[in-house]
Amino acid sequence: MGKRGRGWTLGLAGLLSPVTFWLGLFFLVPLLLILAYSFGKSGIYGGITLGFYPGNYLKVFDPLYLEIILRTLVIAVLNTLLCLLIGYPLAYFIAFKGGRHKNTLILLVMIPFWTSLLLRAYAWVVILGGDNGIANRILQFLHLTDHPLTLIFTPQAVIMGMVYSYLPFMILPLYAALEKFDWRLKEAAQDLGATRWHTFWRVTFPLSLPGVIAGSILVFIPSAGEFVIPNLLGGARTVMVGNLIQQQFLQARDWAFGSALAVMLAVLLVGAIMFYVRRVGADKLEEV
């Protein structure tokens, strides 16, 4: 620090103060509040008495709630994998074959972002719903089925809605990672006798890992907290942790338990992501 002098330190402090203030007020304080609430005691009529009541956390371990948490994690992992499977080829195609249309194609991926998620979810209700709905009419027109199918309000509809909603979060970081890819490495691998599959698996894919990791995290975290799509497209038959938390705050008036669930979810997510980055990421990242 001495080398750079006091002016530099002050300048840095000046530059960082808005973000410190912002994160402190709108991220740290709410987080601490939730933590404090999670040990509090809910009043019968809402509100909360602060204190130390670990009972909220014990309740999380009730089999009823553990099952919901487990189901949530399974759905979130499934969603992440599907997004990766669908998103990777697309990002690959845009980055390597997009040519001068690259920017247009990426723009097309981003356009759905500009509309509210809720409106898009409702659009799916319209598309999938009804015996004479759009999807059923198309399926019958193409003679893929001879009677209307039950498409909406099924677990499959929830997964489909989630993949649809989170796909751009996967594609964009993948594209960013692949776009920087140095073609010469691929040529070198092929010159050295690697098959196309080998080239992809040993050269291209490892180099795109930062994108895979970033995309997976961006998809996994919000999908574990999802509560709108299970209600709108799943008919609330599939309860996720997000629904459970919402319900504690808005229906059961049990803020303490809701906060404990939120804290547990956050801990689980941080744990899962650290595990993931360690296992999938770090060693391969170092190799690169």
Binding site: P30, L33, I34, I44, Y45, G46, G47, L64, E67, I68, R71, S116, L118, L119, Y122, G129, G130, D131, N132, G133, T150, I152, F153, F227, V228, N231, L232, G234, G235, A236, R237, V239, G242, L244, I245, Q246, Q247, Q248, F249, L250, Q251, A252, R253, D254, W255
Partner: protein, 368 residues
Amino acid sequence: MVLQRKISRGDFLRTIGAGAVAGSTLSVLACQPNTSAQSSGGGGGPEEKVLNLYNWSDYVAKSTIPNFQKQTGITVTQDYFSSNEELLAKLQAGGTGYDVIVPSDYMISIMIKSDVLEPLDMSKIPNFKNVGENYKGLPYDPDNQYSVPYQWGTTGILYNKKRLGKLEPSWDPMWDPDSKGMIGMLNDERETPGAALYKLGYSVNATKKEQLDGAEAELKKQKPLLRGYFDSTQNRPAVINGDLLLGHVFSGDAFLAMAQDDDLDYLIPEPAATRWTDNMAIPKGAEHPDNAHKFINYILGAKAGAALSNYTYYNTPNQAALPMIDASLKKLPGYELGPSVFDRLQIIEDVGAATREYSTLFTSVKSS
């Protein structure tokens, strides 16, 4: 509970609201909207011509507020909440700046116990005389010290009469395997367990363990037959477009659906079903109590009351307004209720600590 009723036409708005609420449970503590800064100058002088109304979305007629402004010169600002619990949380945080709020029945009793309501001055609400005897002195506020009714309705079954034929008033159709996959219940911690309690012949406010266990078993039996658990505003279009044969709905949604499709019908099941009431009240510390009383009195007037119900399709507690209710609305089955139907309706009351029993029960059913 009885979370997201009315809002008949504002499906989008309301759900967006619900989403925003979950995102902003903490901001409840942080934000104190509008007027708390601009005090009316204290000392009993005349109030500034302002009124802050906190209401369910799409719950006033188009003419309601403009006419009030024309008559009184008071400018009304309206904000919206999407659940009674959201409303309660805001009031408990204090300093909301609202002058009139519209909580449902059971929430009135919670608010009275939580000491967040201002007693009403009935001398300023002469139109209270228009309120019918059936809608006065309800259990949540026996002497109408804090609240007067705004609109009321029932919770029943909207169904496809063309496909199912005319049904007897009963809860059994909602448990009928022949309609498997075509039944939608409400995503509501009190109404849906309530339907099971009614079916078993218990009170909707049951707290005995064996009664709640019985309701849970009924609902678990029912779940495989259901398309899902929805808001009333989702069940309505689903019944209209044929996704559902039967939907558990609030009456206003049923009437809106029947007004556009003759094949649909609404039934209020035996042995019992819910009747609910939304009420006007003044929160403690309201800055424009005189204007608030004026507004409440205006709504209880014949013309304003009729305009309200003709728009929302819910029932009016306002006897003076009854003659002005649209004939097309009145002739819908289930809108005008004879005493034999009315007397079997039950009111959802606050059950205190048992609220959480209901919550666990419903979670357990939904994740079964």
